[in-house]
């Protein structure tokens, strides 16, 4: 169907050929990037399976050779295995025979993978090593003589690890991981992943009712932090005017939202007014220890949230640490897999402190709930209301990093990059 008086961006049909970005203007974002199936198909090909490094696992999840984890690149199921002291493999969770998604356990340890349907067998690197009755039985049946095991392997991904974090890419052309991250993101990454050995403390999983890109935007959007999160201002974890920055790479796809807690900060009446109710006067924590930052990082920031395109968030919120792994589930949902961790050698007290501060984030976090709800409310808007667009005009002269919370520069730089890659 062509455009009409109400629909002016081609979204009547939702087919990618018909969609067009409003006025080619980066400060306007059309709903259809969040709702079209065709867009998601192209994102899979050009982003997740394109020239990107995707998070797949932490090395600490795979302590021994033969340990595996069922994981995802975009929404494509993969298996991550440890195949040596410092060797990891990532390959598609799909049998080369008929297509079975054969690995069904979340994690485990094996000598080999046997596809249940016909017991085609793969070693831990993902290579096909046995086809039962390949030569037939009693001279009958079996594979053609020229059948070559080597030609029937699940698709392999290239792997790159840095300080305990495992990434995968399908493309031969993806630049080296460090280059891909860029020096700005790498610096922040290396604060958390400095080479200290990680200790996994547990997992959360939730299905958010929003398009996967909304999660990136949320963390590239410092503007919402002190407004949506009443908790942050009320308990003086973060307030406008406090030291903070949005640190971007040159390409504009990654970002780190950084802030430094300032217990001396004062919240004037003007600010309270400006914040339209986002600060509740006169509240104090009963457990004051809760927001205490135990210094442990070589960084001026007490909080950094890094979005690493396209599927990783690194959370350093005071002393609660974790990664979040994004798995798109259709245009309207994403699964978030959280891995919370500390470091080997943490005292019991420190682990407890991390657990306590874990209440801030996650599917039931004081801040986490706010974001999950906001993302759902956004997607509800896109799905239910008349096709429209969003406005991202804050901090208009910038693109990418910025040192004010009142900015959408980093969202715009993301979409400049996105439009190039997606050719839309």
């Amino acid at each position: 169907m062509p455009d009409t008086h109400l629909i002016e961006d081609g979204s009547n049909s939702m087919a990618i050929e018909a969609l067009h970005w409003p006025n080619d203007d980066l400060s306007r974002i059309p709903d259809w990037i969040y709702t079209s199936e065709d867009i998601l198909v192209r994102e899979r090909e050009r982003i997740f399976l394109g020239k990107c490094w995707n998070f797949v696992a932490l090395e600490a999840e795979l302590p021994d050779v033969g340990c595996f984890k069922r994981s995802y690149v975009g929404d494509v199921p993969v298996i991550v295995t440890r195949t040596g002291d410092n060797a990891f493999n990532v390959f598609e969770n799909r049998c080369a025979h008929r297509g079975v998604e054969f690995c069904r356990e979340l994690r485990g340890k094996v000598n080999e993978f046997i596809c249940p349907y016909h017991h085609w067998t793969y070693d831990v690197t993902g290579e096909l090593i046995a086809v039962p009755f390949r030569r037939g039985d009693k001279g009958k049946g079996g594979m053609p003589k020229e059948f070559d095991l080597g030609e029937h392997n699940p698709r392999q991904f290239r792997v790159s690890c840095r300080h305990g974090v495992i990434f995968a890419t399908l493309s031969d052309d993806t630049e080296p991981l460090e280059e891909y991250l860029g020096p700005e993101t790498l610096e922040q990454f290396d604060v958390v992943f400095s080479g200290r050995e990680l200790k996994v403390l547990g997992y959360y999983r939730n299905r958010l009712n929003g398009n996967w890109k909304l999660y990136h935007e949320n963390l590239k959007d410092p503007y919402h932090a002190t407004l949506l999160h009443v908790y942050l201002a009320t308990f003086r974890l973060m307030v406008a005017g406090q030291k903070s920055a949005m640190i971007c790479d040159e390409v504009g796809r990654h970002a780190t939202a950084a802030s430094a807690k300032d217990d001396a900060i004062e919240i004037g009446d003007d600010l309270v007014d400006e914040m339209k109710g986002a600060y509740r006067v006169g509240m104090d924590l009963n457990d004051e220890d809760f927001t205490r930052y135990v210094p442990e990082f070589d960084s001026p920031w007490t909080v950094t949230m890094s979005t690493i395109w396209p599927n990783l968030i690194v959370q350093r919120e005071l002393n609660t640490l974790g990664i979040r792994h994004i798995v798109p589930r259709g245009p309207h949902a994403l699964d978030m897999y959280w891995t919370m961790f500390g470091y080997v050698g943490d005292s019991e007290e420190m682990t407890k402190h991390r657990m306590k501060q874990g209440n801030l984030m996650g599917p039931s976090g004081y801040l986490g709930v706010d974001d999950n709800e906001a993302i759902k409310f956004l997607q509800d808007g896109f799905r239910n209301s008349m096709p429209g667009e969003g406005v991202v005009k804050l901090d208009p002269d910038k693109e990418g990093g910025t040192d004010t919370l009142i900015s959408e520069a980093s969202i715009r730089s993301l979409y400049r990059h996105y439009r190039e890659v997606m050719d839309i």
Binding site: L106, F290, E373
Partner: protein, 174 residues
């Protein structure tokens, strides 16, 4: 760390003791559930001792002995702070929740002469514009003690959920 706290029962109860205790614990769970179903959240900490431990965690964590919780509270102050956040700072759409607590099992005393029990819970959720859905299925692993006035209080509640994939988020404790 959690494992220590949730000390297993070492001494079984007689049938009479179990009968008496199950009745009390069922009453406790009924009132506890009603408090949450009514979203009367500020009453919720009163079901716990001052030094109580409360956690909500996925079965995958429990089975591997991993310590994290979606909610992880120790001591009254932390309970009060969560209540304050729900009441004052957290932003969320209105919803109804309803608890079904069944299969209460009175296990015995642990080595501190505290009462160990468990129960299956099922929580269903209704958003204003949608049908009722299963929110969470799980098991309570509990340690009860009596307070000075003879009322049961939870000293320890581990809520271990099967529903690995939380639907959007979890606003209220379970």
């Amino acid at each position: 760390m959690t494992k220590e706290r949730g000390r297993p029962p070492v001494e079984k109860f007689s049938e009479d003791e179990r009968r008496a205790l199950r009745f009390k614990i069922e009453e406790f769970n009924t009132e506890y559930s009603a408090t949450l179903d009514d979203q009367d959240i500020h009453r919720w900490p009163s079901f716990f001792t001052n030094d109580a431990f409360y956690r909500v965690t996925a079965k995958e964590n429990f089975d591997q002995g991993l310590p994290v919780g979606l909610v992880w509270l120790e001591g009254r102050a932390m309970f009060l702070d969560r209540v304050a956040a729900i009441e004052n700072t957290m932003v969320f759409a209105p919803r109804y929740l309803r608890h079904y607590v069944t299969n209460v099992d009175v296990l015995g005393f642990n080595d501190a002469q505290e009462i160990c029990a468990k129960a299956n819970y099922l929580i269903v959720e209704t958003l204003m514009e949608d049908s009722t859905k299963i929110f969470q299925a799980g098991i309570y692993q509990d340690i009860f003690v009596y307070d000075e006035s003879g009322c049961l209080k939870l000293k320890f509640r581990d809520c271990i959920y099967d529903s690995l994939l939380i639907p959007n988020d979890m606003v209220f404790p379970v």
